[in-house]
């Protein structure tokens, strides 16, 4: 079998891009799960809303991509905080499954409402001028925007990792994950930390939506298919470690890209197959603890 380098590199690049989104979203899920014990099913819808807010800022208010990068996470975090205060906080005493069901309902509401308003067809969002064009690397063409997304999401992932694993705030967070009432006894306002953590996770999803807007079409369905893959990524990695989520996200993106090149029929299912294998061999996930 002869290997065409530009085509292979092209698929690898797509894989890396998808991997950036897997990493960003599974990171947000893991952070939320750590403290709230809730799997945020709305994550995909919140990512979709992020892309729509970016589109709205550009087309209704004339605020471009860079403004969107700043404003969308703030808007989404505010929405997240509202959701946590109004609904999620009533569920902490119940079985975890109710959190999943509630956020699933919220996802349906968001997706239905946006489909009603914007239809199923995607809306275009143009690449900002500073990031258009690309580099010719000799063996392949690298569009600037895609390079930017990979570098930026890697930076955000590592920044989040640093914040949680290496700062004082992060140590409170990790302590509260282990034993919230003990941390509360030390005079730290745990409920507020829980609220802000959810806001942060949702903000991350919104940011991923802004990154995605120029690459994929902005459409109401963009979140739901992605979130199911991200769930599989989370199961493969295990939600125990932040770095684990990042590595699994990027790694699986690359594997998916390679599959698209070597055996395209399996590219949509390869991550699920890997999930099944990992569950048989190491049920707690690659980076999870029992």
């Amino acid at each position: 079998m002869s290997i065409s380098i530009p085509a292979l590199m092209g698929q690898l690049l797509i894989g890396l891009i998808n991997g950036s989104f897997y990493a960003l979203l599974s990171l947000g899920l893991a952070v939320i799960f750590g403290l709230l014990n809730i799997i945020n099913f709305t994550h995909g819808a919140q990512y979709m809303v992020g892309a729509f807010v970016a589109w709205f800022l550009l087309h209704q208010l004339g605020l471009g991509y860079w403004w969107a990068l700043l404003l969308v996470p703030i808007v989404l975090a505010a929405v997240g905080i509202l959701i946590e205060r109004l609904m999620l906080k009533h569920l902490y005493k119940l079985d975890h499954l109710y959190g999943l069901l509630l956020t699933f309902g919220l996802a349906l509401i968001l997706e239905g409402a946006f489909t009603h308003r914007f239809g199923s067809a995607g809306l275009p969002y143009s690449i900002p001028e500073r990031l258009s064009g690309g580099y010719n690397l000799g063996f392949m063409f690298l569009p600037t925007y895609r390079a930017w997304v990979i570098v930026a999401s890697l930076a955000i992932c590592l920044g989040t990792w640093f914040m949680i694993e290496r700062t004082r705030l992060g140590s409170y967070l990790r302590a509260a994950t282990e034993n919230p009432s003990m941390v509360q006894a030390f005079g730290i306002n745990v409920p507020r930390m829980v609220t802000l953590t959810y806001g942060f996770g949702v903000g991350l999803a919104g940011l991923a939506g802004v990154f995605a807007a120029p690459i994929y079409q902005v459409s109401p369905q963009m979140g739901s298919s992605l979130i199911i893959v991200v769930f599989a990524v989370v199961v493969i990695g295990g939600m125990g470690s932040i770095m684990g989520s990042i590595l699994t996200g990027f790694g699986l993106g690359i594997i998916e890209g390679l599959t698209k090149y070597f055996y395209p029929e399996a590219s949509t299912t390869v991550i699920f197959v890997i999930m099944a294998i990992v569950l048989m061999v190491r049920p707690q996930g690659l980076f999870g603890q029992r």
Partner: protein, 333 residues
């Protein structure tokens, strides 16, 4: 933040029942059965039979789902794979192999059972929230398989011709089809009722309420959970295969993740862990769907709102609230 309130566990599960209460419960179930079946026998005289058949297929689907969640405490977010896959196989068997309806339904059910064995062995390795995510991912894999596999007809699905003759004798038109569906539903419903009240069902409930204790009592909980999963998959398949024969088609809608969400909603609305709840929930949702179908995507929003309302304020569901009300009234007397 971990907790004790498992979904579906009622006050009864917390306090062991006196035998008088057990008798009363048996009487309540018997009266419920008689009422339900009496309504279903005369219903086609009043209500459009196609609507009833759709509702009965979904009712069986929801009961099968409830067996797993309400009594086993396992939330599967991928039950559409059993419904949809069985539908495809039974439609294909009826159309291409020319099998009679009952054999086509059996073929579909057998396929769903096999799928249940494989996916159960994988999913049962994790619990709680992971179990939900794994079943969802496995179902998505089945969805992509159905989208690409040559025999499913991709986006178009399979359109079968006439329904054929039951056992090669009885043509399944109008009321004959309705009463066939009714019998299939009744058999499935009775089977689930028997399972729930068997020693097996008692162990299952014990595992739902406290798995560690069940393990310490010597039960191999994995096996019980797997058996419940396979049974639930098989009965979901029976519902899907029957539905494909009734509507003479199988399509991607039935394997899509939204269908998995819908069966959760039916069970939740009707009452998690109650015997009659899923039936009521299925009828409510199917009625809603047929009346609100022109609303398009607002229907999705409505479903979402009901989900949120059920989780926040109405966790016992319609039948669960009714039972709680009856209990309160009895204690007052």
């Amino acid at each position: 933040m971990a907790t004790d309130a498992k979904p579906g566990s009622t006050d009864e599960a917390a306090h062991p029942l006196a035998s008088r209460d057990e008798l009363r419960e048996a009487r309540y179930h018997r009266n419920g059965f008689i009422l339900l079946f009496a309504i279903l026998v005369v219903a086609p005289a009043v209500v459009y039979p196609l609507f009833l058949m759709q509702a009965l297929c979904f009712a069986l689907f929801a009961c099968a789902f409830n067996l797993l969640l309400g009594f086993g405490g396992l939330l599967s977010f991928g039950h559409a794979m059993f419904l949809g896959m069985a539908g495809y196989v039974s439609a294909y068997a009826a159309k291409t192999w020319g099998l009679t309806p009952e054999l086509a339904i059996l073929a579909g059910t057998a396929t769903a059972t096999a799928l249940g064995v494989v996916s159960g062995l994988i999913a049962i390795r994790r619990q709680g929230i992971y179990f939900a995510m794994i079943t969802l991912a496995l179902a998505q894999m089945v969805y992509f398989f159905c989208l690409q596999a040559p025999f499913t007809g991709g986006e178009d699905g399979i359109q079968t011709g006439p329904r054929g003759k039951l056992l090669g004798l009885l043509p399944l038109n109008g009321l004959a089809m309705y009463y066939t569906v009714f019998v299939i539903f009744a058999l499935g419903f009775f089977l689930i009722h028997r399972v729930i009240h068997s020693p097996f069902g008692q162990v299952l409930k014990a595992i739902r309420d406290n798995e560690a204790r069940a393990v310490s009592l010597g039960y191999r909980t994995e096996r019980y959970k797997l058996a419940a999963f396979i049974m639930s998959a098989a009965l979901s398949g029976l519902a899907g295969a029957t539905k494909a024969i009734v509507f003479q088609q199988a399509s991607l809608t039935d394997v899509h993740w939204t269908m998995s969400g819908e069966v959760v909603l039916m069970t939740l609305v009707g009452g998690l862990g109650t015997v009659f709840g899923p039936v009521v929930g299925a009828f409510v949702l199917v009625a809603m769907e047929s009346y609100l179908s022109e609303l398009g995507s607002w229907f999705t929003v409505a479903e979402g709102v009901i989900f949120v309302a059920c989780v926040l304020a109405f966790r016992r569901g319609i039948v669960g609230e009714l039972e709680a009300w009856l209990r309160r009234r009895r204690h007052k007397r």
